[in-house]
Symmetry: C2
Subunit: 354 residues, 2 copies
């Protein structure tokens, strides 16, 4: 048969954000007054009758898409599953309270795998203060894990990605690029396993920090709690799941501002630098585009930062007028425009709407 | 290598309910006072600070597990996705208000498929009064759809599966076995398609009711609203997702009661009978074990039923002492014990905890 021109559009032609826009358009922009934040931020926020709000998020980890079971211990997977959801609530300045967990089981999984997975979930629930109240189990083609998590807050406490003010300091918690460095090491191990077969010996001991950051990243729920206790509230807030570059663009678009980042100030762990050196990579690429760091990116009035312990964040730039775009200033004082870049959602990351 | 005895336990050895018990044990039986209903009912129920409660459920539909895209129009799939979740809330006597939708996309899906899926979701949201506030999009091995839905209610309005009283009438909404009859027709079409190849001509027109009941079942949200308006409240309530037999056993176990069902009273649509006749099957098997009817099974004081329009429910039995077990009385007055039976969750159905 002759090839006909296709009537159909590939999903890759419109991308994840195009899909979310379609969904929002179809379901209608008319939402009830109770909806404080709908489709498009890290979490949805609903007003309650008592004046408080509840923030809701959902995120999935699918075998072969988000993780490789060969190098992902079940306990770490359970912990990470909760972290990726808690991170989305932290990105609204909200702590989690409850969760529903859906587990889709392939044929090649055992009860012992699942018990260990549950142990990791339990550890995370204890760390983050979450009560699991239900879920769903079903069969699936690959191990498919999905969580919905929510928590309540004062309405005034919620921080969206849109609130950046010109002149704000741009800050991050923790360090950047470590998760990607861990992924590089694990991918290299996988390749060695395939190449060397029976002669393969794992060599993971040299980089424990970055591997752990990839396999079982902590979410910044503790940062949110510290901020609450210190009376600190950022102007704009987002979590770094898709890489600093992608997230700073989200903040600039949502707030109609620009940003000037100072490359030499990016907080990078020594082990992350070692991994980049090992592979002959530029470590700034890890920090800007790596993704899955689950740190928080926020903007704030610089004087408000005095309320915080200065070891808990790093100033990496300043918010500018929208007309300036997003610039990265190098050590020599030159500044170059930055594209969103980051990793394609449909290959590496999820973290879609809400 | 010689085969070693396995250190591992197959999931099928402990089953879905065994897994849920493991999860509950691992995460600890100590839940906060705010948890009205935790793991194990159709939905989780959380007390709010204003004295009301919120009920939460999550349910998934996975291609190749819960549906066959060959015979599942995308619009119906979107509608069914919402119905299976709304049904779990209706099973707590709660109407839905909000939902998060997660969509896992295989490579062979197009934007046009998704638009049509969204249309079905939109229709269901309009029918059930749901606002979609967010979700997640990711890639997946097969089309993977997951929803979390929730709604609020007066605390006293919530009905659990555990409240049946000896002497209660056992009732169902709608009719039973139609979804399974529809599945039989579709499976037969699929077989004919494989056998006949290019000569295959679809023959779906003869059974529109049962096919629709399988592809786009309505949830009984309207029943719940009618009950609320009539001031009616059942003693025990569950939705019939896994078949009448399985669900009546859940009600009896949770309430520590028995049941006597009257087989001749089971409400069965004429078209469902025609399909059973067509295949030479016993239609009662469809009604007892078919599953996916998404009707409500409830028990109530018979005098309370006077508040309801009698065309909206059918009395199919009575609640007895636990020592009597679950019996089915035939037309000739003989009664036989009934096993839970129904379909294996890991092959046909999901609808796990919560």
């Amino acid at each position: 048969m002759a090839q006909q021109p296709s009537m159909y559009t590939d999903v890759s032609d419109i991308g994840e954000f195009g899909l979310i826009a379609h969904l929002r358009d179809t379901l209608g922009p008319d939402v009830p007054d109770e909806v404080h934040t709908g489709i498009g931020d890290d979490a949805a926020v609903i007003r309650q009758s008592d004046g408080r709000v509840q923030a809701y998020t959902t995120d999935s980890l699918i075998e072969g898409v988000h993780f490789d079971r060969t190098f992902m211990p079940m306990e770490h997977l359970g912990f990470k599953l909760m972290s990726v959801n808690v991170s989305d609530l932290a990105a609204m300045n909200v702590s989690p309270e409850y969760a529903l967990i859906t587990i889709g089981l392939p044929k090649n999984i055992t009860v012992e795998h699942l018990r260990t997975l549950y142990e990791g979930i339990k550890k995370a629930c204890d760390a983050y203060g979450i009560t699991v109240v239900g879920g769903d189990t079903t069969s699936a083609h690959a191990l498919t894990l999905s969580v919905t998590a929510w928590g309540s807050a004062e309405a005034e406490a919620v921080v969206q990605r849109s609130g950046a003010q010109v002149g704000d300091a741009i800050c991050v918690t923790g360090d950047l690029g470590a998760s990607y460095a861990g992924l590089k090491i694990l991918a290299d191990e996988r390749k060695r396993l395939e190449d060397e077969g029976d002669d393969f010996e794992p060599a993971l001991d040299a980089f424990p920090y970055v591997i752990r950051r990839h396999l079982a990243p902590p979410a910044q729920e503790a940062s949110v709690r510290r901020w609450r206790n210190a009376g600190f509230k950022p102007h704009a807030l987002i979590d770094i799941s898709d890489g600093l570059s992608s997230e700073i663009h989200h903040i600039c678009e949502a707030g109609d501002v620009g940003a000037r980042l100072f490359a030499p100030t990016l907080p990078i762990h020594p082990e992350t630098r070692s991994v980049a050196d090992h592979f002959g990579d530029d470590v700034d690429v890890y920090a800007f585009f790596g993704g899955e760091d689950y740190e928080l990116l926020f903007t704030a009035d610089e004087s408000d930062l005095d309320a915080l312990d200065e070891t808990t964040y790093t100033i990496i730039g300043e918010v500018t007028d929208a007309s300036k775009g997003v610039l990265v200033e190098q050590g020599d004082g030159t500044a170059i425009p930055m594209q969103p870049g980051g990793f394609d959602h449909f290959d590496e990351n999820d973290d879609g709407a809400a």
